[in-house]
Amino acid sequence: MPLLDIDTVSVSFGGLLALDRASIHVEAGQVTGLIGPNGAGKTTLFNVITGLEQPSSGEIWLDGVAVTRTKRHKRARLGIARTFQRLEPFGSLTARENVLVALEMRRRWATERYDPRTVADQLLEQVGISAVADRKVDSLPTGTARLVELARALGTAPRVLLLDEPSSGLDDDETDALGRLLLELAAGGLGILLVEHDMSFVMGTCAYIHVLDFGQIIAHGRPEAIRLDAEVQRAYLGTAAGQAT
């Protein structure tokens, strides 16, 4: 049984089908990729999983439990965490405080006892932004703010982590470091769903990839298979000249 199972989910905005019976599964302990051209419905899917939007049909299962109608904050407690493509940090709080908000909420339901400040500093260290712990996030560059969102998401001690283009705004070295971090987190048992445009990053970190186009899953499989899939090349890779050849 997959950790997170998105079962034939559809979302329509007015007459437009943003998601059309999309099914995706995310396994614990590995990074799963979700790729597709802009407007394919990737962010909508994230919104449905985290409860920011309601699907018109379909179910979302977390470890065998349906969470389709569960309230947003309860999904966080059940172990779903995310970052946002268009940044949603708590901009007037510092990086450390951003992580603290998550950690202080988690104390309400976590079984283990911990000191939020110590853990916050550990998480900032882990994503590599200790140097800006006391800066307001509004004053940070985009890439760094994304890492703050990652640390904040990790603060909820998730079982499934949804990352929406985490590498945009990062340079190559930082992207490499991020890739290593994600693999490390997955090795610890976390299930990661990664939306990304940087194909080499996706191919380098993901164990399994789903391809979304016009709201439909057009292919899924291991990276090598996806790379060779003609449909995928036509829909997506063909437009990113030279990136993944």
């Binding site: 985290t50 409860g51 920011l52 309230k71 947003r72 904050h73 966080a76 407690r77 779903i80 965490a81 995310r82 946002f84 268009r86 940044l87 949603e88 940090p89 708590f90 901009g91 007037s92 709080l93 405080e97 951003n98 603290l100 908000v101 998550a102 202080e104 909420m105 309400r108 339901w109 939020p116 590599g128 932004i129 140097a131 800006v132 800066r135 509004d138 004053s139 940070l140 560059p141 890439g143 760094t144 890492l147 969102e149 904040r152 998401a153 909820t156 340079d171 190559d172 070295d173 930082e174 490499d176 470091a177 194909m199 080499s200 191919m203 380098g204 000249a241 030279g242 990136q243 993944a244």
Partner: protein
């Protein structure tokens, strides 16, 4: 579920209408004549409401600014018309077109150019407060020009003559009003759908940024909208003035409440629905005047009809959509004091008050005490508006409920427990107001709180268990064997209380709860995805704010020693919010500023008896509100920066900037071009990213797998 709650609201409204009609039935027979009579009065009234509301809608949809000053502008221009006709003998045939078609549009264009254009993308509370300030500025200006000790009356247009329908005289003015409203509706329809400007306006409504990209001239549109809005305000004002009477803060200015009730029916968007709203409202008002009779504890209830309708409409609105990625909102820079700094600051404040109060006259001591009580009320809004981002205009209304609770529950003899009871009693009322806050956002929430304040003013205070039709005595505290009866001891008591509450508030801001509120304000979506229960947090902060306001109300009650409804009216509450926003809405020092601001104005007024200063009470807040366009963080931030060198443990702005630079220079978080220079390698990487060149070896960056 949404439809179920909608039916509930509709059913409750029906029960309310039938119940009120039943209970207040005056006994007049319902005949064809009385119904025609009702209609003849209601239709022109509906026309006036529709004109004013249409002005609101046009401005709001095209510029995103909700013009609180719509009524006040109409009032001002009605006075201008009076000046021209009554004072200078210009015939109305010339004066009205001159006012409505020349002066009003010029004012509108001036406002757009000078003020409103700079409000784009500012926080909602700043946008709201600037137009509230504008309302006060117009009241102040009118007070300055037209001495309110003299009476001004605008005679009915074309005299009392008219024609008869079913035995009732329809005056020419009433006919003209209805005809104008209809012509206006048709004209606007043609403008919006048949002209290039109208198409631009509609495009701007749909998407301002996009519209400007495809060549809609958004600047022209906003100037035109403001001109049109002011013309409509003028027309409504001039037509209403002969019946409603002229005064600067009377019915003409308050037409704004009726207008937004009508506009809310069309979600401040649809003009046909706005007309429908105006009609329903006018019918309801005339219905109550023709067939119903209110007295005793319900004497002021008919005045609440627009408010009730507004509240009903707001409750019928669909759940606000979650907002994401509000990147264009200009955030405040706010410095959070440490608890230690606050303790020091409050200590200094208290010592200054001890020294200053020794030299003040009793009158001035009183003014200072009022200032500190006001600051206490303003402070109750800091967590709610400043931190949680929930714009509430009902702060003083809660203080009023607190004042009543104090007076009723032991305050009449100065019992110290009454202060705590005032806090506790208001808590559940705050929770009640939080309910609409769970559905509504932004402007709609602000309007809901405003209607709540209006209901408290019109329906709550007059109840026998509250104040009845008189005032209620409140004794100053007996505490720890002391009686804080003297003005100076009372001032020092309130200052000390302000200090303690202020310190507690700063400590709260630095706690987990404080962070959660900021998180909610900065991104509700993100806050909920890290496990913050939005419902619970909003209810909690509304209760906290209400309780604090109730507590402050207990001290206001002691200040006045005899409380009445006027001290806590809806309009009296607006300047407090205004001054708080001017001072800095998220800080305790902003609340102190709010208190002292009113004090300074009163002192200026007392010291110089000039015409200019007679109006300053209204004019100055208005002008100061315009200042926050330049500095949305509030006045205390620059004031604080100026004093920062005196506090050596504080970093100054430059050291702060240097530190950020150093932190970002850390190679882990470097940002190209900002803190490290472009290298040849960067150029190659960029070229590759932009697909300009391909397969060029990259000298520094390591090759990655898969490429």
């Amino acid at each position: 579920m949404k439809t179920r709650s909608n039916w509930l609201v509709i059913a409750a409204t029906a029960v309310l209408v039938v119940g009120v009609s039943w209970a207040a039935w005056a006994g007049a027979p319902v005949t064809v004549t009385s119904l025609v009579d009702l209609l003849i009065f209601a239709l022109p009234l509906a026309g006036i409401y529709a004109m004013s509301a249409t002005g609101l809608v046009v401005v709001y949809t095209t510029t995103g600014i909700f013009n609180f000053a719509q009524g006040a502008i109409g009032m001002f221009l009605a006075y201008v018309d009076w000046e021209l006709t009554v004072s200078h003998g210009v015939p109305q045939v010339i004066a009205i077109p001159l006012t409505v078609l020349v002066i009003a549009p010029l004012i509108g264009i001036g406002l757009d150019r000078a003020i409103m254009r700079h409000l784009q993308g500012k926080e909602l509370v700043v946008q709201l407060i600037v137009t509230v300030g504008l309302m006060f500025a117009f009241i102040g200006l009118a007070n300055m020009i037209w001495d309110q000790n003299l009476s001004h009356t605008l005679p009915t247009l074309f005299g009392e003559g008219g024609f008869r329908v079913a035995g009732i005289v329809v005056t020419w003015a009433r006919l003209l009003t209805v005809v104008l409203a209809i012509v206006l509706a048709i004209g606007l329809r043609l403008l919006l759908f048949r002209t290039r400007l109208g198409v631009s306006m509609r495009a701007v409504v749909d998407n301002r940024g996009l519209a400007s990209l495809v060549g809609a001239r958004s600047e022209l549109v906003s100037s035109f909208s403001w001109a049109l809005g002011c013309s409509l305000a003028a027309l409504a004002g001039i037509l209403l003035a002969p019946d409603a009477g002229m005064s600067t803060s009377g019915p003409l200015t308050l037409l704004i409440i009726t207008s937004f009730a009508a506009a809310a029916v069309g979600r401040i968007r649809s003009l046909p629905l706005t007309y429908l709203g105006a009609l329903i409202l006018a019918l309801a008002i005339e219905w109550s005047q023709t067939f119903l009779q209110f007295g005793g504890r319900w004497a002021t209830a008919p005045a609440a009809i627009p408010t009730v309708m507004l509240l009903v409409v707001l409750l019928l609105l669909p759940q606000a959509k979650l907002q994401f990625a509000r990147l264009n909102v200009v955030r405040r820079t706010e410095r959070i004091s440490t608890v230690r700094d606050t303790v020091l600051g409050m200590g200094v404040l208290f010592l200054v008050m001890v020294v200053v109060s020794a030299f003040l006259s009793p009158t001035n001591l009183n003014q200072f005490a009022l200032a500190m009580c006001t600051a206490l009320v303003a402070m109750s809004l800091v967590p709610l508006i400043g931190w949680a981002g929930q714009v509430s205009l009902a702060g003083l209304a809660f203080a009023g409920i607190g004042a009543v609770a104090y007076a009723r529950l032991g305050g009449a003899s100065g019992n110290g427990f009454a202060v705590i009871l005032a806090f506790l009693v208001v808590l559940p009322v705050g929770a009640l107001l939080a309910l609409p806050a769970l559905r509504l956002q932004g402007l709609y929430l602000a309007l809901a709180t405003l209607s709540f304040a209006s209901l408290v003013e019109l329906v709550f205070f007059i109840q026998p268990f509250a104040l009845g039709t008189q005032s209620r005595p409140a004794e100053r505290l007996h505490l720890l064997g002391m009686h804080f009866d003297g003005t100076r001891t009372f001032l020092l008591l309130v200052t000390a209380v302000f200090g303690v509450v202020g310190i507690a508030l700063v400590a709260l801001r630095r706690s987990a709860f404080g962070r959660r509120l900021i998180a909610l304000r900065d991104s509700e979506a993100a806050a909920s995805t890290v496990g913050v229960n939005v419902l619970e947090t909003k209810v909690a902060v509304f209760m906290l704010s209400a309780g604090m306001a109730g507590f402050a109300g207990a001290f206001l009650a002691q200040y006045y020693e005899s409380i009445n409804q006027a001290q806590f009216s809806m309009l009296a509450g607006l300047p407090i919010v205004l001054a708080l926003v001017i001072g800095g809405v998220a800080t305790v020092s902003g609340a102190l500023f709010a208190g002292l601001f009113g004090l300074v104005l009163i002192l200026i007024q007392q010291s110089w008896h000039l015409t200019l200063f007679r109006a300053i009470e209204f004019l100055a807040p208005g002008l100061a509100a315009l200042g926050i366009i330049q500095n949305p963080s509030g006045a205390v931030v620059p004031i604080g920066e100026a004093f920062a060198p005196l506090l050596p443990w504080r970093k100054d702005a430059k050291a702060d900037a240097d530190e950020l630079k150093a932190a970002l220079a850390d190679p882990e978080v470097g940002d190209l071009g900002l803190d490290r220079p472009f290298t040849e390698a960067d150029v190659i990487i960029l070229d590759r990213g932009l697909a300009i060149t391909n397969d060029i070896p990259r000298p520094t960056a390591p090759a990655r797998s898969g490429s």
